[in-house]
């Protein structure tokens, strides 16, 4: 656990990047984490050609993991095409947190990814399959 709440995560939690609501925006979606009810929304403004992300913001309240994940993810989106947003690997979103994410907190780490997918493809967005999502850094919580 002490690994989970590294200063890097807590810093993003206390001072999240890209927080707020963009108005006007081109893409928008809101969703919640079914395990805790935390809600998150994302607004995306595209460039004039409507091809690439010009600016992105997320809003909502949640735990350190979901907030840090959104802060880190949104930092990386500016300049990407809509197709590239769609093709993002959720594994990468979890790995970018740089801390071991166990099964109990996986949805916290993936909420920002799920909301982003919703912004791009709408209500068809689904949670990624969890089986191959657990990061290599996670060694399981149970004693042998």
């Amino acid at each position: 656990m002490d690994n989970l709440y590294r200063d890097f995560i807590l810093e993003h939690y206390r001072n999240p990047h890209n927080q707020g609501v963009l108005d006007p925006h081109d893409l928008h979606f809101a969703d919640s984490n079914p395990t805790c009810g935390d809600e998150m929304s994302m607004t995306i403004r595209l460039d004039e050609a409507k091809e690439r992300v010009a600016e992105v913001a997320f809003d909502g309240r949640g735990c350190a993991i979901s907030q840090a994940s959104a802060s880190i993810l949104t930092d990386e989106l500016t300049g990407l095409t809509v197709q590239e947003l769609r093709d993002l690997d959720p594994r990468g979103v979890v790995e970018n947190l740089g801390v071991p994410i166990g099964p109990a907190r996986l949805k916290c780490a993936l909420l920002s990814y799920k909301v982003l997918q919703g912004a791009v493809i709408g209500g068809e967005a689904r949670w990624p399959e969890e089986a191959d999502m657990l990061t290599d850094a996670y060694e399981g919580g149970a004693s042998p």
Partner: protein
Amino acid sequence: MAIEQALPGVLDGTALRADFPMFERPHRSGRPHSFLDSAASSPKPRAVIDAVADTYGHHYANVHRGIYELSEDATGRFEGARLALARFIGAPSEREVIFVRNATEAINLVAYSWGRTNLGPGDLILATEMEHHANLVPWQQLAAATGASLEFVGITDDGRLDLDDMRSRLARGPKLVAFSQVSNALGTINPVAEITRMAHAAGALVVLDAAQSVPHMPVDIATLGVDFLALSGHKMLGPSGIGALWGRRALLDAMPPFMTGGSMITRVTLEGTEWNEVPWKFEAGTPAIAEAAGLGAAVRYLEALGMDNVRAHERFLFERAWAALGEIHGIRLLGPSDPEEHAGVISFVLDGVHPHDMATVFDSQGVAVRAGHHCAQPVMLRYDLPATTRASFYVYNDLDDVDRLLEAIHATRKLFGKA
């Protein structure tokens, strides 16, 4: 501490832990598990595990069918558990106790069988804002299916049911009032007998969700006066997959079956079917035989402790924990402060720390609590909270668990920079 343990009725939780094999295995931190999530589901004592294993191992066959020793043996264990449970909750007859999977299924049985037969457009169902989703969603579905309307009695700021609101809604003549004896999200103990009298005077039947009360305090159906009562075995030291609905015989007799198939019939032709008598009319298919035997063993275990003592024990731990938690800066405790009205369930939030993060830090220290909306999202909405952290006590908890809880909160505050 030794003197405090000698208070009337207070159990020696530390000693009782030896009855629960789960506590033999330490947490990965090397410390013993401090298990404070019994409101979700409880560990099982050896007596229950043995009863399940012994039924499968030496007394197993299908029930109510075989004309041979093993089947009669299994049937005796299954029906013996029904008798034990009926006595435990003060049911006038064991024939009124229907085995189901859990309280959720019990409530759904009433909603489908009684509800769809007796309700229609213009009828009113009354539930409360305090309910677990299990005592809320089935009524929403029933209202949608029948055209009946559904209203909710509000909660006060300190977590009580608003009885004035209850009175004014009862004046509109609901046919059914559904509420819980103990709130899983707030810990509130509701005045069941008083509300039931009010509901009956208004002409309504009462469905009581007793999933959080039967495991933790004496519950006597004759005293409460309710018409249906739902409980889960897994929260009262019993196996998962077994629970019960109790209902008044006359109501059950008049209700159609919920699920249909084998063993709930007396005569089937291709043209039609005659239903079996209660309770078997409501028990289609092969039931959870060994699990029922395990629930019977759980009832005997709790009876040996004495439910008055279980309640006194949890009240003692509640009072200690409530007082100590209340002194922590930035903490908000939910539910009534009067221990008469509060079960051994404490729901709280801490400024600046999300309950999920709190539970993860607690877990690193071997302290198991629930963090989330507790399947009671309207309660969270009522208090404008996304979630809470919940610690709940049972017989195997003791003052050392209260200390571990406080220690974990202080560790959380330190980590999140609010020490």
